[in-house]
């Protein structure tokens, strides 16, 4: 119950203002199609440099939570999911809006998000310290395998092609080795003076997530989205509240599914929303109503995608393994303040850890209150032409990358990685495993070298890294995630081929 002692920290004037600003800003950004939660959090990192670690994390955490919920606004009112996590919300939410029940859909969506989100954060509160203590038993070989696991799980589960996902992870791991070697001081892969200090993680994150979206918006040319905002009629919030708790099956399936999926690194909100929607439909006595503007569809999808947020931070805060691309960006936000997740975070910086987690709990309530008021404005912002959004994101990326350490080199690296990533994405590669490789690379290398030294003095490298219960378990999970993804890819291909043959 240690977290209770730090609740007051969230309510200091600056912290609360940041929480409020992050929540409202996140809701508006989340509603804007093309601006993913990951990109929003990456662009916000430079604004946290001058803040205390806890306050910086409050801003990033609030933005993360509310961008996921804000995406429901454009999903419901425009039929354009603000983020991949809101795809399932579109199915019933937009139909409800077309039937003149937009306000009801929005109210249910924010209330369900808050319930799911609060459950997810409570899970984070109670699981994290226990797992962080357990992580103390990890030695260098285990941490090495954990870092590799982080890259392979995201590489295989988050990509359409297993090989290209793993290859993206390898590219990220290689990029992490650029610069001076920590132990020998040797130069590695420095083919341009801008790379002398290595690749700055924040500049890289901004480039990898923001620039491909800017170029994607450019690639659409002068066209408009053509989406009309559906006007919202008034609807009693009390009636929505009563309806939400009369749909307990959808709410509990959504919340539980989202929480469980959130704990699995690499799976993400998109899957959580769709799986919860599908499961609720399966167990519902009104199956035929799904897709026709049924409130259970909105409740299940939105409670799931926000319930996923808290648990997705469990692997990050306990084992330093980000469970999602947005968690990876949050790790970058922690590292720039010199804080490493794991037991160190809870033992030496409990104020930072608990203030951040508590702010996410309060943030869920604020998101619910302000979401309902900001929805109309957010839907209007979602109609801003893509040309304006692209130019804004580009300028923010340049200023953000420069402000990391006042270096033009970081701006060049940001632009090169971003432009390269745009083309790699078009060829089927994915940014998430590359970012994970870049962030986990130094952790993997430091433990590989440290483990190697211990191994040379004791049992030898092969025995040290490849034997022992925990090592074998981690290796098995790495192999299982690859095997599962290969199987899924082959199965999908077989079905695609069958369909092609029948066509």
């Amino acid at each position: 119950m240690e977290f209770i002692y730090y609740f007051g920290e969230v309510f200091t004037p600056l912290s609360f203002m940041l929480l409020l600003g992050g929540t409202i800003g996140g809701l508006i950004l989340g509603a804007t199609p093309g601006l993913s939660p990951t990109m929003a959090v990456a662009l916000l990192i430079p604004f946290t440099f001058q803040l205390e670690a806890a306050q910086g994390l409050i801003l990033l955490g609030a933005a993360y939570t509310s961008t996921v919920a804000g995406g429901a606004v454009s999903a419901i009112l425009l039929k354009i999911p603000g983020a991949p996590a809101n795809i399932a919300t579109t199915l019933d939410g937009h139909t409800m809006a077309k039937q003149g029940q937009g306000a009801r859909a929005l109210q249910l969506s924010f209330l369900a998000s808050a319930v799911g989100g609060i459950f997810g954060v409570l899970l984070l509160i109670f699981l994290t310290p226990v797992l962080a203590k357990w992580a103390l038993a990890f030695g260098p070989s285990h941490l090495f395998w954990l870092a590799i696991l982080g890259v392979t799980v995201i590489g295989t589960l988050d990509s359409a092609s297993v090989v290209k996902g793993l290859l993206s992870g390898c590219i990220g791991l290689w990029l992490a080795t650029i610069g001076f070697d920590d132990i020998m001081g040797a130069q590695r892969f420095i083919f341009h003076p801008a790379l002398g200090g290595g690749i700055n993680i924040i500049a890289a994150l901004i480039g990898l997530f923001a620039i491909p979206q800017v170029l994607t918006m450019f690639a659409k040319g002068r066209q408009t989205d053509g989406a009309e905002v559906i006007e919202v009629q008034r609807h009693s919030i009390l009636a929505a509240f009563r309806e939400l708790f009369s749909r307990t099956r959808a709410l509990s399936i959504g919340t539980l599914t989202g929480s469980i999926i959130g704990l699995i690194p690499g799976v993400g909100g998109q899957i959580a929303g769709l799986v919860a929607y599908d499961q609720t439909k399966k167990f519902s006595s009104e199956k035929e109503k799904f897709g026709t503007g049924h409130s259970e569809g909105v409740i299940a999808a939105e409670s799931a995608n926000n319930a996923m947020v808290g648990p997705s931070l469990v692997p990050l805060l306990t084992l330093s393994i980000p469970g999602s691309p947005t968690a990876a960006v949050l790790l970058g936000g922690l590292l720039i303040h010199g804080i490493f997740p794991g037991s160190d975070l809870f033992d030496n910086h409990p104020d930072v850890a608990w203030t951040f987690i508590n702010s996410m709990l309060i943030g869920q309530v604020l998101m619910c209150i302000f979401g309902l008021y900001v929805a109309g404005l957010a839907a209007r912002v979602a109609q801003v032409p893509q040309s304006v959004m692209a130019a804004i994101v580009l300028a923010l990326s340049v200023f953000g990358a420069y402000s990391v350490q006042g270096s033009m080199g970081d701006v060049y690296v940001m632009a090169c990685l971003g432009i390269g990533m745009f083309f790699l994405e078009r060829f089927g590669f994915s940014a998430a495993p590359l970012v994970l490789g870049l962030i986990l690379g130094p952790i993997a290398e430091a433990n590989f070298i440290q483990g190697g030294m211990i191994a040379d003095a004791t049992v030898g490298k092969a025995s040290y890294f490849m034997t022992g219960g925990l090592n074998l378990f981690l290796i098995a999970v790495v192999l299982a995630s690859i095997a599962y993804s290969v199987w899924m890819e082959l199965r999908h291909r077989r079905y695609t081929t069958k369909e092609e043959a029948q066509a």
Partner: protein, 151 residues
């Protein structure tokens, strides 16, 4: 996505993989390249596999870049490159941002170019945006950016 694009994309990645492997196994001191060697070995195998599949026409994942997309994107890409690699440092961040922002709006804004109202709107959006950026970065965050001409 056509086969030649797959071959080009995966070929480029394979070439980088080969270079990384060559550097990792030839540069000294060898101890500094132990981890890069490990990565490079996996990197080059996966990149070779991807390239091989592309050459045999078996690559399916990825939408590629269509001609229309590329033509739409090209002016924006060129402005971005000039803005990042030359203008930001040579003209100063705020001047370069003002010019790049206005040009990008002018190229990609769906509003008609013939209407004076559209140009006034673009001018106002640019001015407000740069003023907000100045307020945020120069005044609030105290980030000192290169300032060559004007401000």
């Amino acid at each position: 996505m056509n086969r030649s694009q797959h071959i080009f994309g995966s070929g480029l990645v394979f070439a980088v993989g080969l270079w990384v492997t060559w550097v990792s196994y030839t540069q000294q001191p060898a101890e500094a390249f132990l981890f890069p060697r490990l990565i490079a070995s996996v990197f080059v195998v996966l990149a070779g596999w991807t390239f091989g599949k592309a050459v045999m026409g078996l690559s399916k994942v990825g939408n590629g870049v269509t001609r229309a997309m590329f033509i739409n994107m090209l002016p924006g890409l060129i402005i971005t490159l000039i803005y990042v690699f030359w203008a930001a440092k040579s003209l100063g961040f705020y001047t370069a941002t003002t010019i790049a922002f206005f040009i990008l709006l002018s190229i990609y804004d769906p509003a008609p170019h013939s209407a004076a109202k559209s140009w006034i709107k673009r001018g106002i959006i640019t001015t407000v945006f740069v003023a907000v950026m100045y307020g945020l970065f120069a005044m609030l965050l105290n980030v000192y950016t290169p300032r060559e001409i004007l401000f």
